[in-house]
Each structure stands twice: as structure tokens, then as C-alpha cells.
């Protein structure tokens, strides 16, 4: 959209501006309370599951078996089947952990922070972004657990009084991770569930089969839509948003401390906390786009998840991507400005050493390609292009973690201890398996739960706005 299209005489003016309100459009025109309810709930309540769903679920499930196989073998043989060894003692497991947790950030950001900022456009995408968050945290949480070597003793991570009088190391950020991630997962699940309660009430009332009526009746917690219910629902949402907002910052900050408190060049840098958070939101929004674009096409939801949403998500990605780019820039600058040979060598090695290719991929995927194109509104509203960008950024953000972990470790202070890192087939199978698990879980969500919040979409319709009495009386839905 060129700014000239917003001038009243321009033929494209109506595409962007709602003539009734004079405001920018969020939803396509012609939506009513009834049509919104029918559109969203019918996807779940229909007895006919689309064949495409079965096909994708089958693929997701099949890929998830990689994970099952790899983890079984891991438990039998130990972490020696992975490529982790000296000097690269952290490999795919931590890379994947950080990548998945990062993806999980967009859900809470959309649900909590954009709610506090009164950003109405979030309503179309918050539900599946929250679901994405939870499934991403499930995938992320697995990696530290399977990395401990003896996962059946994973509960030792928790500080509990025991006969050995052994306590976890409270000064280690790895322990802070346990608290940060578990709190984040808990709040995200509660937020997600509470947000769905009014919609479960609708589903219960529209369900035709006794099983569906019973199931949605049970999980709707007796929702009747009374004023008191709505009041409590709104209060709970705001309180949870307030609780979740610091979590968006804290989780990835704590994860950044896993690296930054060490004295290793490439890890020990003060910009890591904000730069990790921005990177998490960047990749999280990329994943929301990766999911939203096929979903809106497959289930014909273009009227509810509109070009405006895609455009806005592109803007958020541009903003967070620029913060990430600022972080990369400051890392490079400080490697020189520090006047430290170790810092300087680390950056030189990261860029031009044997694994310099990975830094190149990272710069292309996270900076060069998205941050030059996302400025252009025409590209931000091009659905195919945005899907491509989302895949590219997710790839780039995975490489960011690869670069941080591997290229900082494989050539540290002592040249005699230098080595390299080559992931094994078990590393790859574990990672790819989580992609399958994530896909399968997400498809189950889409099939059995309302993926867009009906109640919140309806609040954005003209009928929900406060109007003069006569105008309301003349309106019918």
C-alpha cells in the first residue's frame, strides 16, 4: 500500500479504510456474530474431518517416531550417541531447547502484552499462538531432561528436602531455567485454558452429539455468559496478562544467562538478555506466520485472519529483527572495541573460521533477506512471500543458536584443545522428531478446540461498539 492509496479519492481507499468508521480495517467486511460463531465452531464440531488433516497428522506422527526412536536409543546408550564432546560440550540439545523456547515466546507476547496494549488485531491470532507456545515449550522442555544423562533422576533438579541433604546449585542459571520454564509453562497453560472457557460454552451449546456436549460441557466449567461470569473472566484475563508479561522477558533472559555468566568469548556479553528476548519474539512471530498462513487458506479463514494481521506481524518481526540486528552489530563492534585479543579472535573465527558458513547463513536469514524486504508494505501483505520469510527467519534463528553454542566453543582459549562439531544422525533425528511432535499436537488442537477466539472476535464487530440508541435499534444481526 502506498500512502497515496489512503487519500479519499483513490480507488484502493476502501480496501484499507472501513467507510463506516473511517478506521483501518482489521476484519473483512460482512462479519456478524452469527457468521463468526458458525465459521469457527463448525471447524471443530463437523463430523467430517478433512482428508488433508489426516494426511498431515499422519506425516507429523510419522516424523515424531524419529524422536521416539532416538530417545529410546539415547536412554539405552547414553548421551555418547550425540556429537557432544570436548570442546563442544553443548550441542544440538541446547540449540534446540533455546530455539523451541524462543518460538514459544510469541504466544505469550500476543496474549499478554498486546492485550495490555489494547491491540485489538491480536484477537484473530492469539488462540493458536498460545497453543503454539505450549507445544513449543513441550518440545523445548524435553531437551534438558534428556540431556541430564539419567532422566529418571530429573527430579533432582528441584530443590526438595532429601536424605542426602543435597541441594541444587542455586547460583547456576541452569537451575533458574527450571523455575523460569516451569512457571512459564504453567501460566501459559492456565492463560490458554481460561481464554477458551467462553468459547467452550458456545461449543457445548452448539454440539450435536452427546459426547461433544458432555466433553465441552465439562471443560466449559458451567459457563453461562452472565454479566458476573464476563466480569470475572475479564479480571482473570487482565491478571494473567500482568503475570505473564514479566515472564516473556524473564524466561529468555534466564536462558541468555546460561551463556552470558560464563567467561567464554562469544557468550560473555551484556547485551545477551534483551537480544535473546527480541530474538525469541522474532522467531515466535515467524512461527505464528508459518502456521497462520496455511491454516487460513485450508480452513478459508481469510476474512478473520486478514492481510492486516499478516502486515502487522511483519511489522513486529521487522522491529524485533532490528533489535536482533542491533545485538549482532554491538557484538561485532565490542569484539573490536574491547581491545581484547580473545574477543577479537572469537569474532574473526566466527565469521571467517572453518564454520564461518553458519554465520553467513545466520546473517542472510535473519538480517540481509528479511530486514531489507519487510520494510516494503507490498511484500508484507504478499501472503506467499510472508510464508517464505517465516521459514527463512525460523531457519536463521536456529542457526543463531548454533553459531552462539558451537562457534564460541570449538576454538576457545587453548589452541591445543581446539576441535570441531559434527552432529550425528541421532542429533538430527531428535530435532526433526520434535518438529513432527509439534505438528501432530498442533493438528489435534485445530481439530478439537476453537482455534480463533469467537468471543474476542465478536467484540471487534460493529455491533459490539457503543453506539447511540437509535442506531443500535436499527441494527440487526
Amino acid at each position: 500500500m502506498a500512502t497515496s492509496e489512503l487519500k479519499p479519492g483513490n480507488p484502493d481507499h476502501g480496501r484499507w479504510i472501513d467507510p463506516a468508521t473511517g478506521e483501518f480495517r482489521v476484519l473483512e467486511p460482512g462479519q456478524t456474530f452469527k457468521s463468526v460463531t458458525a465459521k469457527i465452531s463448525d471447524i471443530v464440531l463437523t463430523p467430517h474431518t478433512p482428508l488433508g488433516w489426516f494426511a498431515l497428522f499422519g506425516i507429523g506422527g510419522a516424523v515424531a517416531t524419529f524422536l521416539l526412536t532416538a530417545v529410546t536409543w539415547l536412554f539405552l546408550k547414553g548421551t555418547g550417541i550425540w556429537a557432544v564432546t570436548q570442546p563442544v560440550a553443548w550441542g544440538f540439545a541446547i540449540i534446540n531447547f533455546v530455539w523451541w523456547i524462543g518460538i514459544g515466546h510469541a504466544g505469550t507476547l500476543i496474549s499478554a502484552i498486546l492485550l495490555l496494549f489494547k491491540q485489538g488485531w491480536r484477537n484473530s491470532i492469539n488462540r493458536f499462538a498460545e497453543a503454539m507456545t505450549i507445544f513449543a515449550v513441550v518440545c523445548a522442555g524435553m531437551f534438558p531432561l534428556i540431556h541430564v544423562g539419567r532422566p529418571w533422576l530429573g527430579y533432582w533438579l528441584l530443590p526438595y528436602p532429601n536424605s542426602m541433604t543435597v541441594w541444587p546449585q542455586f547460583r547456576s542459571p541452569l537451575l533458574w531455567d527450571v523455575f523460569a520454564v516451569s512457571t512459564y509453562a504453567t501460566i501459559s497453560v492456565v492463560f490458554w485454558y481460561i481464554g477458551m472457557v467462553p468459547d467452550f460454552g458456545t461449543m457445548r451449546d452448539r454440539a450435536k452429539t452427546p459426547i461433544a456436549q458432555y466433553f465441552y460441557g465439562l471443560i466449559s466449567l458451567g459457563w453461562r455468559g452472565s454479566v458476573r461470569h464476563w466480569m470475572r473472566y475479564e479480571t482473570a484475563s487482565l491478571l494473567l496478562a500482568g503475570l505473564a508479561t514479566p515472564l516473556v522477558l524473564s524466561v529468555h533472559t534466564v536462558i541468555s544467562f546460561d551463556f552470558a555468566v560464563a567467561t567464554l568469548p562469544g557468550w560473555h556479553t551484556t547485551i545477551f538478555p534483551p537480544y535473546f528476548v527480541a530474538g525469541a519474539i522474532y522467531s515466535g512471530f515467524a512461527m505464528v506466520l508459518t502456521l497462520a498462513i496455511p491454516l487460513r487458506k485450508f480452513y478459508h479463514l481469510e476474512a478473520l485472519v486478514t492481510e492486516r494481521h499478516i502486515d502487522n506481524m511483519g511489522k513486529v518481526m521487522l522491529a524485533t529483527g532490528l533489535i536482533v540486528a542491533y545485538g549482532y552489530g554491538m557484538e561485532v563492534f565490542m569484539a573490536w572495541y574491547s581491545a581484547s585479543h580473545w574477543e577479537y579472535f572469537m569474532m574473526w573465527n566466527r565469521m571467517f573460521g572453518p564454520m564461518g558458513w553458519s554465520y553467513g547463513v545466520l546473517i542472510f536469514c535473519n538480517i540481509a533477506f528479511p530486514l531489507t524486504t519487510l520494510w516494503v508494505r507490498k511484500l508484507r501483505t504478499n501472503i506467499g512471500f510472508m510464508f517464505l520469510i517465516s521459514i527463512v527467519v525460523n531457519t536463521g534463528m536456529w542457526f543463531e543458536r548454533f553459531v552462539i553454542v558451537v562457534t564460541s566453543l570449538y576454538r576457545d582459549y587453548l589452541p591445543s584443545s581446539w576441535g570441531t562439531y559434527r552432529a550425528t544422525k541421532w542429533d538430527f533425528m531428535t530435532y526433526i522428531g520434535t518438529l513432527g511432535l509439534f505438528t501432530a499436537l498442533f493438528l489435534l488442537f485445530v481439530r478439537f478446540l476453537p482455534m480463533i477466539p469467537m468471543n474476542e472476535i465478536k467484540m471487534m464487530l460493529p455491533g459490539a461498539k457503543i453506539k447511540p440508541k437509535e442506531a443500535v435499534a436499527g441494527e440487526s444481526h
Binding site: 479519499p8 551484556t270 547485551i271 574491547s338
Partner: protein
């Protein structure tokens, strides 16, 4: 149509109230009085060293108001929101004080040899002679000066700063002149103007982040030539948000006793601004504490002395007070919904926050000098940190009030104008 009958009307006269003249007169009196005190202190101290250090504090503080104001102006164009409409004219006026900030910068550029080791090696020699640093430290300093010479030299200090001022000047001029054109245009063209400002401001925020980082590295971080922290620019960025919001709320509430702000400042938006400020209070401590935690845990000889210089030798009292002033007090008070909605109390907190910001800058600047590192002691010169910044800020405020009077206080071609004139409960 009950609610329509309560809708307020924008006053016909949107210009600044006459009380602004009184504020200017008072500010000028304060400026003159504190200038005289500063001169007297310099005479008593027998040196202008502390005048220059305190001048740097005053420069950074007023620079924060002017350029931070410009940044927040761009942020409100990009994000929209009713709070932005309320603050737009005060923020524009803050950005138009840039010429005065440039004047404030000139003495720093002229006397850089008295402040920066990289500009005058005599400072290092003198510190060694007085036993304030060891021979090992001199070697580290010499290595850093030599390594960073392509960047840290008197010429590039001036060139980079002038380029940054020119860039901020361009954005100030463009945003301020377009704002007048927008108000003179037909309301039908408002969506066009919204996008135009969005486009200009989006890139402007990026440019601001880079230029602001560049100057704070030159002006403040390079006072200690051996130390570095990659989050330093962001810390200043958030710090500017902290002080600009505090000042903008202060002005808005003060103006709300008179028209037109009396009509447009509702409790809802005041509450929103309080929440926004609270977010900056949190972000500020978040970045400050993260930097501390990482450096403290690392305990590296290149980094940790910077904190030790600011903790040992009675500086521990200042850092404790800084933590309480800068974070604990505003955080604890701004948690309260009632306080955020109470004009008088919110005013007090905002005044306190501006003082706390200046206090934080004192902790940040003074220990860079080897006579003060790990050695907080009384001298007539140290009192310059009160006299000079107060004088500079008072003159800056007087200039700000002049800028505030040059245009109406409320932008009229904005969709939010209708909303802020509605009764509070309509969209609560």
C-alpha cells in the same frame, strides 16, 4: 443518547496558557542563581575540572530530554494510541530544544582534553604520579588508547557528534513541519498522514538507536577507555524513555490546570501513561541489573574494575541510594492504581524520577575519573554536580517553554481527538 450529551468540546483557543510565561521566568531565575553558585564553587575549588564533569552530566540529561523526546515522538507515531496524541505537542517542543543541547555540547568538544584520557595522555601521567593508578593499569590504558585510536580521537569525536546532531536536526525539522501541515489539511486525509508519519518515524527510530548509541559511547563510556559493555546503548535508550515520560507527564499534568489540556487530559490516559512509565522503570532496572549480574559473575579483570570503582570507597552508599531512588521508590509507588490516577501524587513521582535520573548519571560519570574512583570524598568541586546540572536544566526548561508556546497544544487532525473528548466510561 446519554453519552453524546456528555461529550466535551475542544476549546477554540488551543495555544499554551499564559502561566507558561511564569514558568519560564522562574526557570531563568533558577538558571542564573545556580550559574552564579557554580562560578563561586569553581572559584573555591580553584579548578574547572568538576565544572566540566558536571557540565557533561547536564548535557547528557538535557540531551536525554531533547533527543529522547524526539524518539518518543516517533514511537507514538508508529504505535498510535491516545497517549501519543496527548504528548505530541510537548514532545515536539522537547525535540525543538536540540539547538540548545548542541550549544551545551560545544564546551565538551572544546575541553575534551580535560575529560578524556584518549584525548590527553597527561591525565594518565598525572594519575600515575599521584598514585591513583598502577603501572599495570597504565599499560592496559595505553593498550586500549592505541587500539581504539581510529575511533577515539579528537577529530572523530567532533565529526561523529556533529553528524549525529545533523541527523537528529533533520528528523526534528521534518516531523515538526509535517505536523503543522497535517493539522492544516482536510480531516479526510488523516489516514494518509498517519501512514506518512509511520513511514518517517519507523526508519527514524532505527537511526535514533544507532546515533544515540554512538554518542553515548563517545561522550560517556569512553571516559573509562578500558571498559566496555555491549548493552550500554540500550541502557541509555531505556533511560531516556524513563526521563522523557516522567517529564512529559509532569508537563501534561501541570498544563491540565488550564485549557486546552484541562479538557483533553482524562484520568484514563493519565493512568495509561503511568503504566507506560512503570514499564520503563522495570526495563531500566532489568537492563541495569542484567549488566551487573553478567559482569559480576564473570569477574574478569577487563570488566569488574568498572563496578569496583563505583562500589568501593564510600561509593557503596551512592549505589545503594541509586537503587532505592532510581528503582525501588518509583516501582513501589507506581504499582498503585490510585497513585497513577492521582495528579498530585503522580507529579511528585515524576519529579522524583527526574532527580533520580540525574543521581544515576552522577554515579555513572564521576567514578570514571581516577581521583574519584573508589574514593568518594568531599570537595567544593563535587558540589558542581548540583549547581551546573540545575543551571543547565533550568535554562533548557526556559527554552522548552518558549518552544511550547509556538503552536497549539493539541493536534487536531487525529482520530483519537474524538475519543479523548468522550466521557471516561465510554471506552474504559
Amino acid at each position: 443518547m446519554a453519552h453524546e450529551s456528555h461529550t466535551k468540546t475542544l476549546p477554540a483557543d488551543l495555544s499554551a496558557p499564559p502561566v507558561v510565561n511564569t514558568w519560564r521566568t522562574r526557570a531563568l531565575i533558577v538558571g542564573v542563581v545556580f550559574s552564579v553558585i557554580a562560578a563561586g564553587l569553581a572559584f573555591a575549588d580553584g579548578s574547572i575540572d568538576h565544572v566540566l564533569r558536571a557540565w557533561l552530566l547536564g548535557l547528557v540529561l538535557t540531551f536525554g530530554f531533547a533527543v529522547g523526546g524526539l524518539a518518543l515522538l516517533m514511537v507514538q507515531y508508529v504505535t498510535g494510541g491516545k497517549w501519543g496524541l496527548l504528548l505530541r505537542r510537548p514532545l515536539e517542543a522537547m525535540s525543538r530544544t536540540l539547538p540548545l543541547v548542541f550549544v551545551y555540547w560545544i564546551p565538551i568538544a572544546v575541553f575534551q582534553g580535560k575529560l578524556y584520557m584518549w584525548a590527553n595522555h597527561g591525565i594518565v601521567d598525572q594519575a600515575l604520579k599521584l598514585g591513583q593508578i598502577t603501572q599495570d593499569q597504565v599499560e592496559a590504558i595505553d593498550h586500549a588508547i592505541k587500539w581504539k585510536a581510529p575511533m577515539l580521537n579528537p577529530t572523530s569525536f567532533v565529526v561523529v557528534s556533529v553528524i549525529c546532531f545533523a541527523i537528529w536536526g533533520f528528523y526534528t525539522w521534518r516531523l515538526n513541519s509535517l505536523a503543522l501541515k497535517r493539522d492544516a489539511d482536510s480531516p479526510d486525509n488523516t489516514p494518509f498522514w498517519i501512514k506518512k508519519f509511520e513511514n518517517l518515524s519507523g526508519f527514524g527510530i532505527l537511526v535514533y538507536s544507532l546515533t544515540m548509541t554512538a554518542v553515548v559511547i563517545y561522550w560517556v563510556m569512553s571516559l573509562d577507555v578500558t571498559w566496555y559493555s555491549s548493552v550500554y546503548g540500550l541502557l541509555f535508550l531505556v533511560g531516556q524513555g524513563y526521563q522523557v515520560l516522567a517529564f512529559a507527564i509532569l508537563i501534561s499534568i501541570a498544563l491540565s490546570q488550564y485549557e486546552p489540556f484541562k479538557t483533553v487530559l482524562r484520568q484514563t490516559e493519565q493512568h495509561d501513561l503511568g503504566k507506560f512509565t512503570f514499564a520503563f522503570v522495570m526495563l531500566n532496572i532489568y537492563l541495569g541489573f542484567a549488566q551487573f549480574l553478567i559482569i559480576w559473575s564473570g569477574n574478569l579483570p577487563e570488566e569488574i574494575p568498572w563496578y569496583l570503582d563505583r562500589i568501593r570507597g564510600h561509593w557503596g552508599i551512592i549505589i545503594t541510594l541509586d537503587f532505592i531512588f532510581h528503582w525501588l521508590i518509583p516501582f513501589s509507588l507506581l504499582l498503585s492504581r490510585d497513585i497513577k490516577r492521582n495528579k498530585k501524587r503522580l507529579t511528585r513521582i515524576c519529579q522524583w524520577m527526574i532527580f533520580a535520573k540525574a543521581f544515576d548519571l552522577f554515579w555513572l560519570i564521576e567514578p570514571n575519573f581516577k581521583d574519584a574512583a573508589r574514593n568518594l570524598h568531599f570537595s567544593w568541586g563535587i558540589l558542581e554536580y548540583i549547581a551546573v546540572p540545575v543551571a543547565l536544566t533550568a535554562f533548557w526548561f526556559a527554552f522548552f517553554t518558549t518552544r511550547l508556546q509556538t503552536r497549539g497544544l493539541v493536534a487536531i487532525n487525529d482520530p483519537h481527538v474524538v475519543e479523548i473528548l468522550e466521557p471516561e466510561h465510554a471506552h474504559a
